[in-house]
Amino acid sequence: MTEGETVTVKWRKASIRSAKDTAVRIVGYIILFILFAVLAAIFYEIADGALSNITWQILTTSNTFEGTTGGGIYEAIAGTWMLVGTGLLFSVPPGILGSLYVVRAKSSKTLSSLVRLFTDILTSVPSIVIGLFGYLFMVYYLGWGFSLIAGGIALAIMMLPYIFRVAELSMKAIPVEQIHNAYALGADDFQVATRIYIPQALSGVLSGIMLAISIAAGETAQLLYTAGWNAGGLPSGFTNNNLGVGYLTYIVYNGLLQGSAIPNATNLAYIAAFVLIVTILVLVLLSKSMNRIVKKLSQIMRGTR
């Protein structure tokens, strides 16, 4: 621009900006409404089918899928949480240790990229494929049979990437200066992990665990191949649990299949689905109100209390 030349600036009109803002807000409300409506419809449908038939007896007796009542869902409720618990046992430690490894500056970049790549691939493997692998390798090759450990590990394979990713993101959010400061104060790798990374990422890690639990509790496909099904009592060990382990999603799946043969089977399916949804809802709400517990846990881990 030469000296003395003037440029006319055309300012954006405030009215257009405000119209755009309003449009974005309206779209946001519509999306929110659709999400809420879908959730409410699912919950209403399940609750409607379940609440009129749910009894304490159904929740506390064994399932038979025979006769007129089909029994209860006791093993399915307990079995679901035993399977999820076993899944946690095999997914939380590697998930957290893996994320600690990849966020550490000293770690090999190649190995870190490989870990990320494998977890990304795991996220996209269909659950039926995990089930088939579990059946061929754990149930058949290792001879564990339909069992708690085979079902738990099959769930862990699916839970691991969620726990790893959320833990990694939470740890990456910690300012790098804090990490350097801890090292500068003489902390070693273990102390930086236990006093900085894990306490500060704890809230995020727990959210990841809750998410993984919610997803795992609702899985069916891989459990059909690995946990089998059992309504004759709870598993007494990790392997060869007779026919297998009971779980809620099997009741939902088989209850609808048996609907015409056993009059009460459809009701059981609704009740199992209702129990599943309510439990997951409670878990999500719990995870939201866990801040105080997390703060206390963090202080204990840092050794400041």
């Binding site: 500056a105 104060l185 003489g186 070693d188 840092r302 400041t304």
Partner: protein, 249 residues
């Protein structure tokens, strides 16, 4: 007098970039040793190489010798080295915990000190950092709620509690307002009675105010060194003169 830290032919590179190029430097005991230079000149890397924080990043390649109390820094364990050579960073970075726990952090990492002894050490460190009077009634307060200047003095107390021989300060006042900056500069002058201070800064006025020994670093090389800060104007190279000119204006 024998220097407490001695750097000889120090070269540091990261990838293809050479950050420090044949640096020779002596750090004198109970003095403020200032390394002055423009941003991106290798000042922070110099400090991080001394306490081996550069070891955290495998991309760094280091050659030459750094000795501390007559022994190579690589002969110390990282933990002992960093306990004896404390570091204050550019931006104050309190951990998200109370003031007391922040100051006690390093001591808890490295010792099995009793609570009553820890109370004494925390008080001494906060006193040495000039913060005790301001926070003595509220040690359980979250450190993040302190002002920027107070946070930085708390970080100094956090380093002092480990009884280091040397305190390295990496542009410790660059994010502070003039009053807080001036307090930290006065504190440095007090600290040199007990400790050796290495100050890295691009602030020539600060160097002139506090420095006992000053070295100019430019493009990874020490281009001039001398006592005090007054010699700066006449000894600099042409390119550095332009930097000094810019800063002085």
């Amino acid at each position: 007098m024998e220097p407490i830290i001695k750097l000889e032919k120090l070269e540091v590179s990261s990838g293809k970039k050479k950050i420090l190029d044949g640096v020779n430097l002596e750090i004198h005991k109970n003095s403020i040793n200032t390394v002055l230079g423009p941003s991106g000149g290798g000042k922070s890397t110099l400090l991080r190489t001394i306490n081996r924080l550069t070891d955290l990043d495998p991309a760094f390649r280091i050659s030459g010798t750094i000795s501390f109390n007559g022994k190579k820094v690589t002969e110390y364990s990282e933990v002992e080295l960093r306990r004896r050579i404390g570091m204050i960073f550019q931006r104050p970075n309190p951990f998200p915990m109370p003031i007391y726990d922040n100051v006690a952090f390093g001591m808890r990492l490295q010792s099995y000190v009793q609570k009553k002894d820890l109370d004494v050490l925390v008080e001494q460190s906060l006193t040495d950092a000039g913060l005790w009077e301001e926070v003595k009634g509220e040690l359980k307060r979250d450190a993040i709620t302190l002002s920027g200047g107070q946070q930085q003095r708390m970080c100094i107390a956090r380093a002092l509690i480990l009884r280091p021989d040397v305190i390295m300060m990496d542009e410790p006042t660059s994010s502070l307002d003039p009053t807080a900056k001036s307090r930290i500069e006065d504190l440095m002058l007090d600290l040199k009675e007990k400790y050796t201070v290495i100050l890295v800064t691009h602030d020539i006025a600060q160097a002139k105010k506090v420095s006992d020994y000053t070295s100019l670093i430019y493009n990874g090389k020490i281009v001039a060194s001398g006592e005090g800060g007054e010699f700066l104007e006449d000894s600099a190279s042409d390119s550095l003169k332009s930097f000094l000119g810019e800063v002085s204006v």
